[in-house]
């Protein structure tokens, strides 16, 4: 795998990834996000619905916890997870944990890491993990790691996560040489270290010495839906300290359900890759992403002045909770300016009704809108880095955060 940096804007990078094993003819533009596909499929979306989402990321992200119970089937199948799940046209990335679910803390041990399946907890030692990856045959995968730390972890626990993660990494490197099906796969090392800056530096420096193709930064949070409201600013100093100590010419990934403002801030710090668990986590809650990303206002479909006012109102809120009774007879789409399948065909009132009657279609429509929103957003980020415009994009989104407060206050007054 090769990362070529085309433009630099502060610490932000516009890059091109190429040479990914079986997909050597494909190139990927960074900053980018992955397509979240737990168990090999996008949540709620059959393939024909997924194909209606524009700007689909080319990398499909599968956490191993959904597969570990089916390792035998996969081995018998023999052709890897991408083919097994009919996703051969995608580049396959597999991770240890699923960032859309909060990791249950305290179950990792010296000998291995705990992952959570439908049937319960499964312990993976490096040898188990690598056998599993050999069956999955990913194009890119995460090395086994202990990222079970957060803002409350004690220093002793943090140090343990750093040393264990390096031990696992070394074991994975060693085991990988004997696994033929992984010879074209790229392994990313994991930089941990909780909130101890010196540990972050150690982890980064040591990981850089190993033969890894990229770096994943974890150990800041248990992840899951609560992370959607966790601001990047809380960890920016730790990310900066880490990135100072990894090479420039390899991609850096920051997993987790990050909101768009945090994404911009992380890109500014030097992160290249993210996942798309945020759109999913929001859809699960019945919420739509309603940030406006384009700096010039898009033409409204109906060109009515009252629509412009409504649009303004909406843009003042980054999130729209379609469960709220006020959408009961609101017959506008989620966003007038959005070109996604849901906004072109359905109204807020209909989605509100679907959520109330507990119909799957509610989450399906929100998933499509949220994915579209997020993928369009990454397009905008790339444009902004290219034009050296990240600062104003960040200011636009921060304005929405402020407007959000004003809007809420106005509503309380009336």
């Amino acid at each position: 795998m090769k990362l070529t940096i085309k433009t630099v804007s502060g610490n932000a990078r516009l890059g091109v990834i190429s040479g990914m094993g079986r997909h050597s003819s494909q190139i990927l533009n960074t900053p980018m996000c992955l397509l979240y596909t737990p168990g090999g499929c996008a949540p709620y979306l059959s393939k024909d619905m997924l194909q209606k989402v524009l700007n689909l990321p080319q990398i499909s992200h599968i956490p191993v916890n959904a597969i570990v119970e089916h390792q035998t089937s996969l081995e018998k199948f023999g052709k890897g997870m991408a083919t097994f799940s009919s996703m051969e046209e995608f580049i396959l990335y597999s991770s240890v944990q699923d960032p859309s679910q909060a990791v249950q803390s305290g179950y990792n041990e010296k000998m291995g890491v705990a992952v959570w399946t439908k049937g319960g907890k499964v312990k993976l030692r490096p040898e188990d993990y690598m056998q599993l990856q050999a069956a999955i045959q990913p194009d890119i995968f995460q090395a086994l790691c202990d990222s079970d730390t957060d803002g409350l972890s004690k220093r002793k626990r943090v140090r343990k996560s750093v040393s264990r993660t390096l031990e696992y990494l070394d074991k994975c490197v060693e085991l990988r040489d004997n696994l033929k099906s992984l010879e074209d796969s790229c392994m990313f090392g994991v930089c941990v270290g909780g909130y101890e800056e010196d540990q972050r530096v150690t982890s980064a420096k040591e990981t850089s010495l190993r033969p890894v193709s990229g770096f994943i930064l974890e150990g800041f949070h248990q992840m899951g839906p609560e992370m959607a409201e966790f601001p990047f600013t809380k960890i920016s100093h730790l990310v900066t300290a880490t990135l100072k100590n990894v090479p420039e010419d390899k991609p850096r990934m920051l997993p987790g359900p990050w909101d768009p403002l945090s994404i911009i801030q992380a890109v500014k710090a030097g992160i290249d890759m993210f996942d798309s668990t945020y759109p999913y986590v929001m859809a699960e809650k019945g919420q739509a992403i309603t940030y406006v990303y384009k700096q010039e206002p898009k033409e409204l479909r109906n060109n009515k002045p009252e629509d412009a006012l409504q649009e303004q109102e909406t843009h003042a809120t980054n999130i729209m909770d379609l469960n709220e009774p006020r959408y009961h007879d609101d017959f506008k789409p989620i966003l007038e300016s959005c070109q996604c399948y849901s906004c072109l065909n359905f109204t807020r009132a209909y989605i509100n009704h679907l959520l109330n009657t507990k119909e799957l279609l509610g989450q399906t429509l929100l998933m499509m809108h949220n994915f579209q929103s997020y993928f369009d957003f990454f397009e905008t980020i790339r444009e902004s880095v290219a034009k050296n415009n990240l600062q104003s994009l960040e200011q636009l989104l921060m304005q929405h955060h402020q407007d959000n407060t004003h809007f809420a206050q106005d509503h309380r007054k009336s």
């Binding site: 737990p38 168990g39 090999g40 499929c41 979306l45 059959s46 089937s73 199948f77 009919s86 989450q363």
Partner: protein
């Protein structure tokens, strides 16, 4: 809904009685507690029609007095006569007879005399089609088919007959033979969400370990996108775990139902319906242990199942 095809609404009667704990039925209507906030509500024939008029479906149903199919005694007779009176109130209240088709629902429980009276009475009204209700509620199949055929015997042959709440593939085939034209059932989509696929030989419970290394499609004759894209082994890994499996299996099960009805239609047009039934039953019951009720029901319309 952004739905460009036809729409049918039910009156709410069945749902109220089957899904609500405290539904109180009087001549006026059905009194119940709202499932959302517990407030007391009254659903009358007039109100049901008003709601259905505003939803705007192409076919709408009368509000009927539904009793559980295993109920016996005077309640059954009361409900049957009340359904006729409520039919008349529905017809009176219907504001869109020019573009919405109101169907009566024949009741009478498992009592042949009551069923017959109800069918004959309702036939006297000027309506575009008829529904048969109060069956498919867990009653013995030997009673079920007799009530279906009795109902179709006393309804006009030139209007559609809609058997409500049916159902399983065998029931559909037999009830078409007995004279029914339209059906509805939650079974195909509900069972899809629980991980079961409908196939010509019955059902595949994809959660079962037997499918973990089965790399063929759910049904190799099925043209649906799920069967064209995924294997049984892959479906085994996602059913009841990933939300997408609900959509994927729903697509397959609905396709199965539509294909079944299409092949029934084609065989009737080609004058080979009895042969179709034979083939269908042989595929569904490989051991030739056909259900007795189905054998009798088919015999009553001169279709004799051979044991080859």
């Amino acid at each position: 809904m952004n739905w460009n095809r036809a729409l049918l609404t039910d009156s709410g009667g069945f749902q109220m009685v089957s899904l609500l704990k405290l539904a109180q039925i009087t001549e006026e209507g059905v009194k119940f507690q709202s499932p959302h906030d517990g407030t007391e509500m009254l659903l009358t024939p007039e109100r049901s029609i008003e709601i259905q008029n505003s939803i705007g479906a192409d076919i709408i149903m009368q509000l009927d007095d539904v009793v559980h199919s295993t109920t016996t005694g005077p309640r059954v007779e009361e409900a049957m006569y009340r359904s006729i009176r409520w039919l008349d109130r529905c017809l009176e209240a219907h504001k869109r007879s020019h573009d919405q088709n109101l169907f009566p629902i024949v009741q009478g429980g498992l009592n042949p005399e009551l069923r017959k009276i109800c069918a004959i009475e309702m036939t006297k009204r000027d309506v575009p089609g008829f529904a048969i209700g109060g069956l498919s509620g867990g009653e013995e199949k030997s009673h079920f088919w007799r009530m279906v055929t009795l109902s179709t015997d006393h309804l006009p042959r030139d209007k559609p007959i809609y058997l409500m709440g049916v159902g399983f593939a065998v029931d559909l085939v037999v009830c078409v033979a007995l004279g029914c034209d339209m059906f509805d059932c939650v079974f195909p989509t509900r069972t899809a969400r629980f991980g079961s696929a409908l196939v010509p030989t019955g059902q595949l419970h994809l959660k079962n370990k037997e499918f973990s290394c089965d790399f063929g499609p759910i049904d190799d004759t099925c043209p649906c996108s799920t069967c064209k894209t995924f294997t049984r082994a892959y479906m085994h890994t996602i059913v009841t775990v990933q939300s997408t499996s609900c959509s994927l299996l729903t697509i397959h099960n609905v396709t199965y139902q539509l294909r079944l009805m299409r092949s029934i239609q084609e065989s009737i047009i080609a004058n080979r319906f009895p042969q179709f039934i034979q083939k269908f039953m042989e595929t569904m019951y490989a051991d030739r242990q056909y259900p007795q009720w189905a054998v009798e029901a088919l015999q009553s319309v001169n279709v004799t199942l051979c044991l080859r």
